[in-house]
């Protein structure tokens, strides 16, 4: 094989670098564990705001809010992107039947310098905000942290929001948008839009959120019990939750939700019982294989994705075919096969499904290799992947958001591109309780 094998390279642990044989210290070092959440964390709602190019793609009809242009009524693209986040968070809370008081934290990320969109949206959203930068992997990072916060009992509900804007990203990372350049076939198209996910235990829809918690959610020990009650009682959950609330009457936050949440969200108990849950996650680490070409993000990110996927599969001990799909973020057309090759060298024969390839139709749309951007995998996850899990078509999904952590400065200074990938395992409810 030309160039030699890369087995063990991308998944190499610390201390195994350089000339040391790849296997010489294998086993001597602790393998970095994946996170297995004590309770599956339900994804209560997932909503999308999509730009015009995204609507013209294969998922066009499935987005919740569709924009006519890239400005969305704002004066600048940067403001437009912030507005996407505001709208997405608002819609996500409404879809989950939550009021702002029920949300304990917003985890937001975007591609603008200093997290511009997230910070400015935070002005309006006016909730505790944790800004995350993982480039296009922010979605995975947010879901991982959000699930951890909920699982630990530190937050009742968390909203994860990610956005990107094609024009805002182009002008920041590359050239002014009206400047004429020819892009190579490996170039990718930054998605315009935002996706928001509500994580947490219970909500207006299945009655669990309506359960009072006078202790202020401070006691994780009693959470699993209550959660199980909530899930067992999906069908008549509303009545029980309501009763509990009346009985205690002590919790103003949950009590305030009574009757004010959207009726349709509360009444949809069939949908409530089919909520996808986050069961495990593997945080990524930076992998840099020396790619410098900013027009080949997929090629740069593939080793990071392969590392995270291989570690997740090894740590979880499930066969690769236990997953109905392994969806990578934005490796796109030419990065995905590279990642598959790397995984094959690690001993995993898997077929990947890439969000960057799903978002656009390359035969009709001039997006070159596919989509990218923080919103890319968020839009596909919310509009395409999660509905499949919810519908029971997929029992288990491994979502691996990939990010290229370059900056215009690092690129101009000739640095290679550090990349990262965060994996989040999402299971259908019946599946979630299994190991």
């Amino acid at each position: 094989m030309a160039g030699g094998t890369l087995a063990g390279v991308v998944t190499r642990e610390r201390g195994r670098a350089g000339a040391a044989p790849a296997d010489s210290v294998a086993g001597a070092l602790p393998r970095r564990p994946s996170m297995r959440f004590r309770r599956p964390v339900p994804v209560l709602a997932a909503v999308t705001v999509a730009g015009p190019v995204e609507q013209a793609g294969p998922l066009g009809g499935r987005f919740d809010r569709r924009l006519r242009d890239h400005l969305g009524g704002q004066r600048t693209w940067e403001k437009a992107e912030a507005r996407f986040q505001e709208v997405a968070v608002e819609m996500a809370a409404a879809a989950a039947g939550l009021r702002p008081e029920d949300i304990d934290a917003v985890l937001g990320g975007d591609l603008q310098s200093q997290l511009g969109a997230t910070s400015f949206a935070g002005r309006t959203i006016d909730l505790p905000l944790l800004g995350l930068y993982g480039a296009c992997a922010s979605c995975g990072e947010g879901l991982l942290l959000g699930a951890a916060l909920c699982d630990a009992g530190l937050c009742r509900h968390v909203v994860v929001v990610v956005s990107s804007h094609h024009d805002a990203a182009e002008r920041q990372f590359r050239f002014p948008t009206e400047f004429g350049t020819q892009r190579p076939p490996t170039a990718q198209w930054t998605a315009t839009g935002a996706a928001a996910f509500v994580l947490g235990f219970g909500d207006g829809a299945d009655g669990a959120a309506a359960e009072p918690d006078p202790e202020g959610d401070g006691d994780p020990a009693d959470r699993p019990q209550r959660d199980r009650d909530g899930r067992d009682g999906h069908r008549e959950g509303r009545g029980r939750g309501g009763g509990g609330r009346t009985g205690s009457g002590g919790d103003h936050v949950d009590g305030g939700q009574n009757g004010t949440a959207p009726r349709d969200a509360r009444g949809d108990s069939a949908a409530a019982s089919r909520r996808p849950c986050i069961v495990a996650a593997t945080p990524g680490r930076v992998v840099d294989m020396g790619v410098k070409d900013p027009y080949d993000m997929g090629g740069a990110e593939a080793p990071a994705a392969a590392d995270t996927i291989a570690r997740h599969l090894r740590n979880r001990g499930l066969a690769a075919d236990a997953y109905a799909a392994i969806a990578t973020g934005d490796l796109a057309r030419y990065g995905r096969p590279v990642c598959e090759d790397l995984l094959r060298e690690e001993g995993f024969a898997v077929r990947l499904s890439d969000c960057g390839e799903r978002l656009y139709d390359p035969t009709r749309q001039d997006v070159h290799a596919g989509g990218s951007g923080a919103a890319c995998c968020g839009l596909v996850l919310a509009a395409d992947l999660l509905p499949r899990v919810r519908a029971g078509e997929w029992r288990r999904l491994l979502f691996v958001a990939t990010g290229a952590l370059l900056s215009p400065t690092s690129y101009q200074q000739g640095e290679s591109i550090p990349c990262i990938a965060h994996a989040v395992e999402i299971a259908a409810p019946g599946e979630a309780e299994r190991p």
Partner: protein, 159 residues
């Protein structure tokens, strides 16, 4: 994890197996057609200016101004980036491409104001072209003048 030189080389080889070849033939053909079209339009302008009585030097300069204007207007209409995406160097090389590289950032950074936006960013793309263009012309002019004996090197520089 940062790869060492050998691993980088191996990875580059793996990546090269999946990397699509650049569509050179298509690109060259389209660049010829698009660039040729700009030149044809330029020739029409040149003939017009010459017929109206301008000497060849001035007709050439007027033609350059006209093509630059067309490039600027097409940029303003949001068409030039589409033309260049297809035409590549055929759209970048004529002087219309040069005006595109100035008008595009001027439009883009208007939102940051006239001084810090338009004024500061207008030449972000064209700036290097101007700097090194001037430098090159200076060197070429020096060589030319030396060759024609019109410029004498100071004694300490002569061999």
């Amino acid at each position: 994890m940062q790869a060492n030189a050998e691993e980088r080389r191996r990875y580059a080889a793996l990546r090269a197996r999946h990397k699509p070849p650049l569509p050179h033939l298509t690109n060259l053909t389209l660049a010829f057609v698009v660039g040729g079209s700009f030149c044809a339009v330029g020739q029409i302008f040149y003939n017009y200016f010459a017929r109206e009585g301008l000497p060849p030097d001035e007709a050439g300069a007027f033609t350059a101004v006209a093509i630059a204007l067309i490039g600027g207007v097409l940029t303003g209409l949001g068409l030039y980036d589409d033309i260049a995406r297809v035409g590549g160097m055929g759209a970048s090389l004529p002087i219309s491409g040069f005006s595109n590289s100035i008008v595009a950032p001027a439009m883009e950074y208007k939102r940051e104001g006239w001084v810090l936006g338009v004024g500061a960013k207008m030449f972000t793309v064209a700036g290097p072209v101007i700097v090194y263009g001037l430098l090159t012309s200076l060197v070429v002019a020096g060589v030319y003048l030396l060759g024609h004996g019109r410029l004498r090197l100071p004694g300490w520089l002569r061999p």
